[in-house]
Symmetry: C2
Subunit: 292 residues, 2 copies
Amino acid sequence: MEVIRAKDKMRQVAEDWRREGLVVGFVPTMGALHDGHLSLIRRCVAECDRCVVSIYVNPTQFGPTEDFKQYPRPFEEDVRKCADAGVHCVFAPTDEQMYPAGFGTYVEPHKELSGCMCGAHRPGHFRGVCTIVAKLFNIVRPHRAYFGQKDYQQFLILKRMVDDLDFGVEMVLCDIVREPEGLALSSRNTYLSEQERKEALCLRKALRAAADAVAAGERNAEKILNAARNVLKKFPSVKVQYLELRDASTLKPVVLLDKTAVLGIAVYVGRTRLIDNVLLAPGRGEVGADDV
Amino acid sequence: MEVIRAKDKMRQVAEDWRREGLVVGFVPTMGALHDGHLSLIRRCVAECDRCVVSIYVNPTQFGPTEDFKQYPRPFEEDVRKCADAGVHCVFAPTDEQMYPAGFGTYVEPHKELSGCMCGAHRPGHFRGVCTIVAKLFNIVRPHRAYFGQKDYQQFLILKRMVDDLDFGVEMVLCDIVREPEGLALSSRNTYLSEQERKEALCLRKALRAAADAVAAGERNAEKILNAARNVLKKFPSVKVQYLELRDASTLKPVVLLDKTAVLGIAVYVGRTRLIDNVLLAPGRGEVGADDV
């Protein structure tokens, strides 16, 4: 497995693969790889002739008060995990490569998709995400790219970007990977104390309660949301940033659940911000990433 | 020569060329092709293995009060001109192909480069330009793309976009083509009456006067601008929108001409808006597109 730092080199390697007729798969990450990332990587390795994983903590998607500096960067370990998973190439550019002096062109995400949920609380975040992914797509030119459902809003925005700007990349959404007790895997879970890890179970428990209500036939959005809220009340130390039920394609607010929706949640557990979501189909309850 | 309407077809044709190792050149246009366009096209044909010309009047780069509807669309004639010039493929997509319902992702141009000159007077114009060119680049994936110096600010903004978003396209700037009396060729010249065509000579005359001053050693920006202003005074019916001397790379205002600058002008002749510019090097006067 090759570790590439220079974008021109990466561009050439991927272009050579395309020329040979090989299908190039891509998993963009910020490193600190956990089993969620590895599930994407393994699927990419299995489905494509070549798998590129990028490891780059992208400064433009962090707000000024966010955790850019403290974000974990266990690079050697990440590279080893990629090699073990059969990755063909790790692309790990420097900030100087990605944002040289004078940089100033950005990809502005779809306003409706990016104005709610995480986008409403992290101004500029999805602009940073779209910009870096556009750059990485232009360098790697993958046929397929793999994303986790935990960042469902991000996936929708990026899929819209790919369609709107004609990137010609097939976008693949993969199920959330969770710890046995239900906590969605996240590089930010390392910030949590033992006590906070217990409190963080509230996300999955709240989503499950809502999914159970939907499975039992509930279609009224307020009642579905209340099922989740009733769970969250039991965790008074957890500060809920948002809990929203939205159409799974358009992210418009749902009043009556008549097609697949996403119930998204963001909370602060101590000083750590955590997100989770569940896809809900009327009459069925929770459905997987393949159902949208 | 093939005329392609569907973007998937265009993508495939260009991808096949790349795979064969052919160098793909690209000239994006809004049609109404004149000898200015044809100079780009001929250079593209001469320098590349394959030449794609796009003909698409892009709605997102027109303001609500601008001439989108009346913009000339002599499509059959344009296609004939391309065929005669040795173009391999004309790409002429429909609005439904380029901006389907739900579209909403845009490329935001570099703020400093797009906030002055034409950008200050045409809000959203360069966002539309960047967005459509990003789309076209993603579909055609050219190795090289050709642009005219008449839209010098556009070229700088697009070159910045290519660098910032890592498109990997070589950007080629070509000299302005003019009528014998000096009027820069433009599809919008067809809007002019006979009398207005005479008044429109003021642009080139004003720029020439400034260039002569620079050739004679003038480096003070105000004095260079005054040389142009003195010419414009003789055309009282012409309304000047802007006349600005700016650094040829950064578009920062120039006070003392110590490296190559662009003197840009926009005027209204009757109801028709016309632009022109000249590249000025200290001590030398007017220089060509190859000098920047």
